[in-house]
């Protein structure tokens, strides 16, 4: 670990001190003078005609300030979708209007029907109960297959069907892929469900709208991963407030995992209502409310086929997926099953021909959007499961089959339109075999068997694509936003540095890791660098944090801005030392003239920039503040190999995760401690998806798993200590830090390892079971064992 606390050092997190002492400032900790509270009356039916909403009695209840219904928002823009997918026939997707408050119809349990603003939350909720709502029930569209059937009830009457789009990728490859299947020596087919999940950051969403009548300025405090995106979407598309009259603040945010990327109706409501009542309006989601209003994740139903030749080389891959969109298109929903999923189908393998078909479907359920990994876990899960199944069908070692088909030369252009710059899949697999002590498995299995337990081992690889870019490419793919990141580096007169970044930290530790980069570049202590984020008023326009993009894209922007600073500072130093600029070197916080003992400290140069008495004013401006916008040339491609070992009780179907190992390649690493923590958390979420978590609707569109009483969150007893390693490092070639991103890897790489392990345990125990759908609850495992 570097002694200077720069790049590569496991610096302790500075933000921890406030979190550990109860001094964090989360959105719910903010209370504004004269604040009112809103309670949303939400639909308890999945689908129906909203015949009337009578607020007369409720409006006269104690403490009620104003009640809003869909009528109040009839002239207001709908909640926008940020990605327009074009289907395989060249047509754009069907895009329904998404009202802030339901108007005419309700389309999912949890949709807002009315909003009561009152002096206290209790009074708002009391009054909401007095609102009389008349809904004529319609049949609920829940099952995707049924939704696509001829004559199905439509979620949106003004659309032609419940099909949002039918996407083919790469459409031109389709015939060649089919031909390869005709010619295959072996074809393995697997039908599976990627279960619907609820992201469940521990901090529920909160929004506070504030309006200053004196200036006409609006402010929204919100639990967001990307305040600038919210400002743009809400200002421009929903409420018609120009950016200069709207400020969005996301202070300390208690986890996001994707679900706090999106712009939600509640944010628009609070901003709108604060102006209408000329008082701050605060909304705090309960957990129960979160289950029916936060965008859900995953929910794919897939058939995947793998073709192999007689030598077990992968020759083609074909997939057919239905992806649930829910009742409306959440902000980035259309991109998840398409560009974040299809482009990853090659995985770590040199399969030459791939065709991915995805049908996105509207149903009367909560909208579905990105959740940690977003599309990439779905791609990895089906690919790594079908490979495992193929190995078992062919009687070959699953690891050997993978190794045989690894991509080994880089850069590598996949048949699904992306180019991997670097990677070393052999190295990560070698490392995994060491971490997981594969050679000792048989002894562990025999020992478990002596106790009547079935032990199984599952292995898989993953490839991820982080930092989606470049903007001009994603624009062609349908993104309605740029995907650059920004940073302003401000050096103060006495040498301290403030970095104002468009990235947003909600657990990732940017306040600690970002300064390590600046400290390294300048040669100053990290505690001389402060990170400012989360407030549109004092950060440059940036796209926020998701998709494991912060250090790769936001960090690169910071590096670019710091390079401009250093270049300018060298000019000042050259002037101060009366030397040529080309001879100036910056090291350990001092500028020196090459080949001489002349030197001037960092602080002297920064002071000169702001007190420019002895300064080249005719050549350069005073001050030391630079901004950079970084638009990456490509994605980054972290990769790795994961192993899971389980022990299964054949009497009950219950199993325990005995070991979980991860060998990741994240390229260069800024803070290893933080990176390990990201992987731990990702694995736990993947373990959660594969053994515990399931978001389930009944046929009426009622949510069956609407609280922690029925939605099983991973707890400390569900997981072991993880064995993670990131010593395999192939730096990214196209960003200045050589970093790749690590936030989602654990959640992407872990579900197939766990399912492969359980199938392995069962097969070794003599059960002819090739697949069980996630989550592998004891009851599902037991049911499968009954044949």
């Amino acid at each position: 670990m570097p002694a200077d606390g720069g790049i590569g050092a496991s610096n302790k997190r500075r933000e921890d001190v406030r979190f550990l002492t109860g001094k964090g400032r989360y959105t719910d900790d903010i209370n504004l003078l004269g604040q009112t509270y809103v309670h949303f009356l939400r639909s308890d039916v999945a689908h129906g005609v909203l015949k009337s909403v009578d607020v007369a009695e409720a409006a006269s209840m104690p403490g009620v300030v104003k009640i809003f219904t869909g009528e109040d928002f009839a002239e207001v823009g709908g909640v926008p979708c940020g990605w327009q997918v074009t289907d395989r026939f060249g047509e754009v997707m069907q895009e329904p209007r998404h009202p802030v408050i339901a108007h005419g119809k309700v389309r999912h349990v949890g949709e807002i029907i009315a909003a009561v603003v009152a002096e206290s939350h209790a009074e708002a909720r009391d009054a909401a109960e007095a609102i009389e709502v008349d809904i004529e029930d319609l049949p609920a569209v829940v099952d995707m297959r049924a939704a696509l059937a001829e004559g199905s009830t439509k979620v949106h009457d003004d659309l032609t069907s419940n099909l949002c789009y039918d996407w083919g990728f790469v459409e031109e490859n389709k015939e060649a892929v089919n031909a390869a299947f005709e010619a295959a020596a072996h074809v393995t087919t697997l039908e599976l469900v990627n279960n619907r999940l609820v992201a469940n950051p521990m901090e529920p969403r909160v929004a506070i709208g504030d309006y200053a009548p004196g200036t006409g300025d609006s402010t929204l405090y919100t639990t967001s991963q990307n305040p600038h995106v919210i400002r743009l979407l809400m200002g421009a598309f929903v409420l018609g407030i120009p950016e200069h009259k709207l400020r969005v603040v996301a202070p300390d945010v208690g986890g996001g995992f994707g679900t706090k990327i999106f712009h939600y109706a509640e944010e628009a409501f609070c901003t709108f209502a604060a102006k209408a009542v000329e008082r701050p309006v605060k909304w705090v989601s309960s957990r129960s409310e979160a289950f029916i209003s936060d965008a859900h994740g995953r929910d794919h139903v897939t058939k995947i086929e793998l073709a192999l030749d007689a030598e077990n080389n992968f020759t083609a891959l074909r997939t057919d997926t239905m992806a649930n969109m829910g009742a409306y298109l959440s902000t980035f929903a259309p991109s998840v099953p398409t560009w974040l999923h299809g482009t990853l189908m090659a995985g770590n393998y040199k399969t030459p021909l791939i065709y991915v078909n995805v049908k996105a479907v509207f149903t009367n359920t909560v909208p579905v959007d990105a959740y940690r990994g977003a599309g990439r876990p779905e791609a990895t899960y089906q690919l790594e499961r079908v490979i495992d199944k193929a190995a078992r069908e062919l009687g070959v070692d699953p690891i050997a089959l993978r190794r045989q088909n690894f991509i080994t030369e880089f850069p590598y252009a996949t048949p699904v339109a992306v180019e991997y710059d670097t990677g070393d899949y052999v190295a990560t697999m070698d490392k995994l075999e060491e971490l997981a002590d594969l050679s000792g498995f048989e002894a562990r299995r025999a020992e478990a068997a002596a106790r009547g337990k079935l032990r199984g081992l599952g292995v898989n690889c993953y490839i991820e694509a982080c930092g989606i870019a470049p903007s001009n490419l994603v624009g062609q793919l349908g993104a309605r936003a740029g995907l650059y990141e920004s940073a302003t580096v401000r050096v103060n007169a006495t040498g301290g540095v403030v970095v104002m970044t468009g990235s947003h930290s909600h657990g990732q530790g940017h306040e600690t890791s970002f300064p390590q980069v600046i400290a390294d570049m300048i040669g100053i202590a990290p505690d001389m660098v402060e990170i400012v984020h989360g407030d549109t008023a004092n950060t440059p326009m940036g796209m926020g944090t998701y998709g494991s993009r912060s250090i790769a894209v936001g960090g690169s922007a910071m590096v670019r801005a710091a390079e401009k600073i250093i270049n300018k500072a060298k000019k000042i130093a050259a002037h101060l030392m009366e030397a040529a600029e080309a001879d100036i070197e910056l090291k350990d916080g001092a500028f020196s003239v090459a080949g001489t003992d002349k030197s001037v400290a960092w602080g002297d140069v920064t002071l000169a920039a702001y007190v420019p008495h002895n300064y080249p004013l005719e050549d350069i401006e005073p001050g030391l503040e630079e901004t950079a916008f970084y638009d990456p040339a490509n994605f980054t491609y972290p990769s790795g190999a994961y192993a899971c070992e389980v022990e299964l009780d054949p009497e009950t179907g219950h199993f325990t995760v005995e070991a979980f190992c991860a060998a990741d390649d994240f390229g260069n690493i800024i803070n290893p401690m933080i990176v390990d923590g990201q992987v731990h958390g990702g694995i736990a979420q993947g373990v959660g998806q594969s053994m515990l978590e399931n978001c389930v609707y009944d046929s009426e569109g009622q949510l069956m798993s609407g609280s922690y009483m029925d939605y099983a969150m991973p707890r400390a007893t569900d997981v072991p200590f993880f064995n993670v390693d990131h010593s395999c490092q192939t730096p990214c070639t196209h960003n200045p830090l050589g970093v790749k991103g690590c936030g989602e890897a654990g959640a992407i790489g872990s579900p197939p390892a766990l399912v492969n392990a359980v199938v392995d345990a069962l097969q070794r125990g003599g059960h002819d079971i090739t697949h069980i759908d996630m989550p592998l609850s004891p009851s599902r495992v037991w049911q499968a064992m009954q044949g």
Binding site: G22, Y26, P201, G677, H680, G681, Y708
Partner: protein, 161 residues
């Protein structure tokens, strides 16, 4: 509204509460002690955990009126007298036992209760004791490690930092 009086973090405090006012609401809104968080409404996540008369309690599942006259301790009262991090808090920072920080107050309060009961818990005992505290960020790895370190046990053999 009735007037309640209790000791919070060593100080006698008074404030107003309705019958339905939960202890967490009283702490957050009446006493402005916002370190105690609310993460669920079914008494499972533990973000709201405080100590009442030395016992760990979910402050979202106790009426403020029930704490009349009680000795309550919250995360704001857990640092050393000089304001420095306590052994438990320091262990969480040293071993990266928190990410977003939202569940953290509950984790620290639970740890304090555990170590009072069981000063040298095994890994299994720590995990068992965390049954009522949900963390979505850390995968519990570094929380368990932090707690074992806070109990004075050597955690250097635990895989990866």
């Amino acid at each position: 509204m009735t007037e309640l009086s209790m000791t919070v973090n060593g100080k006698t405090v008074t404030g107003k509460a309705e019958g339905r006012t939960l202890l967490v609401t009283f702490l957050r809104e009446e006493l402005k002690l916002t370190g105690t968080h609310v993460g669920c409404d079914t008494s499972q996540c533990g973000a709201c955990q405080v100590h009442v008369n030395g016992q760990p309690v979910k402050s979202c599942t106790m009426f403020a009126a029930e704490a009349e006259g009680a000795d309550v301790r919250t995360i704001e009262g857990m640092a050393n007298a000089d304001g420095s991090l306590s052994v438990i808090q320091q262990a969480f920072q040293d071993h990266h036992g928190l990410q977003c920080g939202f569940c953290t107050p509950g984790m620290v309060m639970t740890t304090a209760a555990l170590l009072k009961e069981n000063p040298k818990p095994t890994e299994a005992e720590v995990r068992e004791y965390l049954e009522g505290n949900i963390c979505r960020c850390t995968g519990y790895h570094n929380i368990v490690k932090s707690i074992m370190a806070a109990s004075g046990q050597d955690v250097s053999a635990i895989a990866a930092e």
